[in-house]
């Protein structure tokens, strides 16, 4: 009898746990694809809030914090544009993104994806005031990307970000469209064999690559 009681309790516990993780998975499955179809700063900020709610409710999942930071930094890029120089607007966003990413990093140590976002935040800060900040945030961005590559040399987003830098940097500063193209091609080849751990793990990048490759024509 005791056995039966124990089994039943175990079953119900598992079921309850299952339903919790189902709920998480379902929510993430709903919102992760939205990232690929968001094109505005407001859209990204709204999405970041959504991921933050999931993150704060779950507390032990790195993915929602990761996406909350990623969407936040993307909103920053949308606001600053390639010209930059809007430190008063983008700095609070970079601060917020960093805060979210630190929480993700606590839950998932040595994660290549997290270092990719770290790189994006450093670049966002640098573009806001390049003259005064390139000595600080230039090397910081580079160090984060190097670490991301070291942690997972098969992460296609590493090459996408590297290519993006080459693409936007003027030639006299070491930018190069041909080098960028090579890096984008590497990223595409990495994507061909890339298998995300699950459908809610990071898989973004192909759309951006298509955009850049189209620019090359």
């Amino acid at each position: 009898m005791k056995k039966v009681l124990f089994l039943t309790l175990l079953l119900s516990a598992v079921l309850a746990g299952q339903s919790q993780s189902d709920k998480f998975k379902k929510a993430m499955e709903q919102w992760v694809p939205v990232f690929d179809t968001t094109y505005s700063a407001d859209g990204f900020l709204t999405l970041s809030n959504t991921f933050q709610r999931i993150a704060d409710a779950e507390k032990n999942q790195w993915l929602p914090y990761y996406y909350a930071a990623l969407t936040q930094v993307n909103a920053g890029y949308m606001i600053s544009g390639p010209a930059g120089g809007a430190a008063d607007k983008t700095d609070p966003i970079a601060d917020k993104a960093e805060q979210l990413l630190n929480k993700a990093a606590e839950l998932a140590k040595d994660n290549s994806e997290i270092f990719c976002v770290r790189k994006m935040i450093a670049t966002l800060r640098m573009t806001a005031d390049p003259m005064n900040r390139y000595m600080t945030y230039g090397p910081a961005a580079e160090a984060a990307l190097t670490t991301a590559k070291k942690l997972n040399p098969d992460n296609p987003r590493v090459y996408l970000l590297e290519g993006q830098d080459k693409f936007y940097t003027p030639e006299q500063y070491g930018g190069s469209k041909t080098e960028a193209k090579k890096l984008f091609e590497t990223a595409i080849s990495k994507f061909d064999v890339y298998k995300p751990e699950s459908n809610i793990h990071p898989h973004w990048g192909m759309a951006q690559l298509k955009y850049f490759m189209a620019q090359m024509q």
């Binding site: 009898m1 039966v4 009681l5 039943t8 309790l9 079953l11 119900s12 079921l15 309850a16 339903s19 709920k23 929510a27 407001d42 900020l45 709204t46 809030n49 959504t50 933050q52 709610r53 999931i54 704060d56 409710a57 120089g85 430190a87 008063d88 700095d91 609070p92 966003i93 917020k96 040595d110 003259m131 005064n132 000595m135 600080t136 090397p139 580079e142 160090a143 190097t146 670490t147 070291k150 942690l151 940097t169 003027p170 006299q172 500063y173 070491g174 930018g175």
Partner: protein, 752 residues
């Protein structure tokens, strides 16, 4: 029922959730003046449910949670909001009023009378630290850059900041809170000296042209407040070679990034430059300087920082100029100087709301000045009636300054500060006249001060700073009480108006002491009103001021030495100043324009009556342009400085009336100067550069315009001679390389 069935029922019941209890929560979020706030994150705590407000501040969502739940609303720039809700399936409509969070970024800042160049992300800062070193007319000198701001005069014949009709001695410099004596190299007649400290050791500069805080005192006109850098970003080695100097330095940052140390040495010798660029003076010993400094910085806790900066310098120079007193003869001047400066400061947060700042500085300065006349063969001579031109002056100065400030944070950004300062100054001066008779004198002054100040943020848009300072000077044996008050009101985004009032006291300059009669503090009262607009990389500010001087020192001559007689001097200064900076209109071009109008008169020292002093021009203006040319990797900087003709005069003593009188007066021609500088940064664009060389080419007075600073008179007052720059044009070429000590592997290994 069998127990097992019962259990199944129970567990089913546990897993069952009523599907009908969906609650719709909607509403509107408003902020300041009931304006809707968009982008606010609304959530039910510990659930996924929530929404983000739209452009009209509206939100709506459905939640499956039931019972008492906490609703939270968060947005950047607002205080977090939370409210308990009872979720029972009935729709809930909310109106949420968010309170603005007073942050340094948005709040009004008291700016009347101050220019700030700092790395703090303050809306009011119109300059950044880089601006100081890249101003063409600055010659890499901090004060050179500040002279392009309104309020400061372009005085070329002597060092220091002459602010709003004040003398250079009325500006005091502070590093990390404590007073710096001998900020400039020791004075040389008619040649302005540089400041001793490299602009690269400072991360923040506050240049107050009046109305400054009660934390600082003993300066009638202006305070220059410098903050040294904390831990460096990384370890670096540096090397610099120029036509004037060579220097090398090393900065080491500990692996854990909690401490650093560094040292540097530089040797400057102007012989080479003077061989190429002819000087007005004939140098028998071209200026040569040995400079060494050392520092350490230790992060003593998450919020604590201990910093030391030590400086040593030794310099010598000697030159002759054709004597104005006797044709065919020469005046020889020589000076040797050694100077030590040590500064130790510590800051720490004590508990959540208290901060303490402690600083001590010590200066030891030694000047040996020799003067005599020479004949054509450079032999020392003594001429009848001009014997007094031979003298020796040895001065030894020992200065100690200690300051403690306690800071208590109040609600929002409001704060209360108080503390004490002790300043010790001891000068041993030995004047030896032509006959070899020594006149030794010793002077000691202890100034003890206590002060308190409150920053009161009445609202996010209205702030006040009120302070009180009390000082006691041992040499005067007197106390003073100086109130300070400023107000700032935010008129709109980036636009604000401020006013400031204050009384400022200063001891009579020690060079005029000891005096036969008891003296008192000199006094200045400031009234300042300012309008400022900083929006979108464009800054505009206008300031009007009135400054009243009382108890200025009057002087006379005792044993050939100018000595304070009484405090009967007085004066005033009024003016209007404009500053405009624009980084936006033209891409990658940055320029600023400043203009100052100054109307000042004073009666002090040996002046027969109140006149405009020779260090005050009516109109002063600067145009500074910086252009970064990406494809050349070059920074092109140019600056134009203008000052309307300053007055000159000669004051003679009339034994018949025993009065001082003007024997000659006039105005020098207007002053124009165009400087140009190119910085070439070849490392830009290199991936992982190992070194960061910066090439500098700087030309001052590029159009070779004749500049006259004033006139110099012979002893008998019958002959006069222009005081002009030591050379018309000056060219500086140098290369400064810093090597990033590459430790990216180290960083990586720590990260993994």
């Amino acid at each position: 029922m069998k127990p097992i069935q019962l259990l199944l029922w129970v567990s089913l019941f546990l897993l069952y959730k009523p599907a009908s209890a969906q609650t719709v929560v909607k509403g509107i979020v408003t902020g300041n003046k009931s304006k809707p706030v968009y982008g606010v994150s609304i959530s039910i705590k510990d659930s996924y449910d929530g929404a983000t407000t739209d452009s009209l501040g509206r939100f709506s969502f459905t939640t499956a949670e039931t019972g008492e739940q906490l609703l939270q609303a968060t947005a950047v720039g607002y205080k977090p909001f939370s409210q308990l809700l009872k979720l029972q399936g009935q729709p809930i409509t909310l109106t949420i009023a968010l309170k603005e969070e007073v942050t340094e970024l948005q709040a009004v800042v008291i700016t009347a009378g101050t220019f700030e160049a700092s790395d703090k992300k303050r809306a009011s800062a119109v300059l950044d630290p880089l601006d100081i070193v890249t101003t063409a007319s600055a010659n890499g000198d901090i004060t050179g850059a500040l002279k392009t701001l309104p309020g400061a005069q372009t005085v070329g014949e002597s060092e220091g900041l002459f602010v709003r009709g004040g003398t250079a001695a009325e500006t005091k410099t502070f590093i990390d809170g404590t007073l710096v004596n001998n900020f400039f190299f020791s004075s040389v007649p008619n040649i302005a000296q540089f400041s001793r400290f490299s602009p690269f050791i400072f991360k923040g500069t506050v240049f107050s042209t009046g109305g400054y805080s009660a934390l600082y005192g003993q300066a009638l006109s202006s305070a220059l407040i410098l903050e040294s850098i904390d831990l460096p970003e990384r370890s670096t080695a540096s090397l610099g070679v120029s036509v004037l100097s060579a220097n090398a330095g090393y900065q080491h940052l500990a692996k854990n990034k909690k401490s650093s140390w560094g040292a540097s040495y530089g040797y400057t010798n102007l012989a080479l430059a003077f061989a190429v660029i002819k000087q007005r003076q004939d140098y028998s010993r071209a200026p040569a300087y040995h400079n060494a400094d050392a520092n350490f910085r230790i992060k003593t806790s998450a919020t604590g920082m201990l910093k030391y900066y030590g400086y040593f310098s030794s310099s010598k120079l000697a030159f002759t100029t054709p004597s104005i007193d006797s044709l065919g003869y020469y005046d020889r001047f020589s000076i040797g100087n050694t100077n030590h400066y040590h500064n130790l400061s510590w800051r720490e947060n004590v508990g959540r709301r208290w901060k303490v700042q402690l600083g001590v500085s010590y200066t030891n300065n030694k000047d040996d000045i020799n003067s005599h006349m020479q004949d054509e063969d450079k032999k020392e001579v003594s001429l009848d009636g001009l014997e007094a031109k031979k003298f020796a002056l040895d001065s030894r100065g020992n200065y100690f300054n200690a300051k403690m400030v306690w800071d208590r944070r109040l609600r929002g950004l409001s704060a209360f500060r108080f503390g004490a300062e002790y300043n010790y100054a001891k000068d041993d001066i030995r004047y030896q006249d032509y006959s070899g008779t020594p006149y030794p004198s010793q002077l000691r002054d202890d100034v003890t001060s206590v002060f308190a100040e409150g920053d009161i943020y009445i609202t996010n848009v209205l702030a006040a700073k009120a302070g009180l300072r009390m000082e006691h000077s041992s040499i005067l044996d007197k106390n003073n009480l100086a109130p300070r008050l400023s107000l700032a009101y935010k008129l709109g985004k980036g636009t604000q108006a401020s006013v400031a009032y204050g009384i400022f006291y200063q001891n009579p300059e020690r060079r005029y002491l000891p005096a036969a009669q008891p003296l008192t503090f000199m006094q200045a009262t400031h009234y300042i009103a300012q309008f400022q607009r900083v929006v979108n990389q464009q800054s505009f500010r206008a300031e009007i001021f009135y400054k009243k001087y009382d108890n200025l020192v009057k002087s006379g001559f005792v044993n050939y030495r100018e000595t304070a007689v009484n405090n009967a001097g007085y004066g005033d200064a009024k003016g209007i100043e404009f500053f405009w900076r624009d980084k936006k209109t033209i891409k990658s071009l940055d320029y600023w324009i400043s203009y100052s109008y100054l109307d000042t008169k004073r009666d002090f020292l040996t002046f027969p009556y109140a006149i405009t002093p020779n260090f005050a021009a009516k109109h002063t203006g600067s145009l500074v342009v910086k252009k970064f040319v990406q494809s050349w990797k070059m920074n092109l900087n140019t600056a134009y400085n203008f000052a309307s003709g300053r007055p000159y005069y000669n004051i003679g003593y009339d034994p018949a009336t025993s009065q001082y009188q003007f024997t000659d007066r006039g105005h020098v021609p207007d002053y124009h100067n165009v400087s140009f500088a190119i910085n070439y940064l070849p490392f830009i664009g290199k991936k992982n550069p190992k070194s960061y060389p910066v090439w500098v080419l700087q030309v001052s007075n590029i159009f070779n315009i004749r500049q006259v600073y004033g006139y110099q008179y012979s002893y008998n007052g019958l002959r006069k001679q222009e005081v002009v720059p030591t050379s018309r044009m000056f060219v500086f070429i140098g290369c400064f390389i810093s090597f990033g000590v590459d430790r990216s592997d180290e960083v990586m290994n720590n990260a993994l």
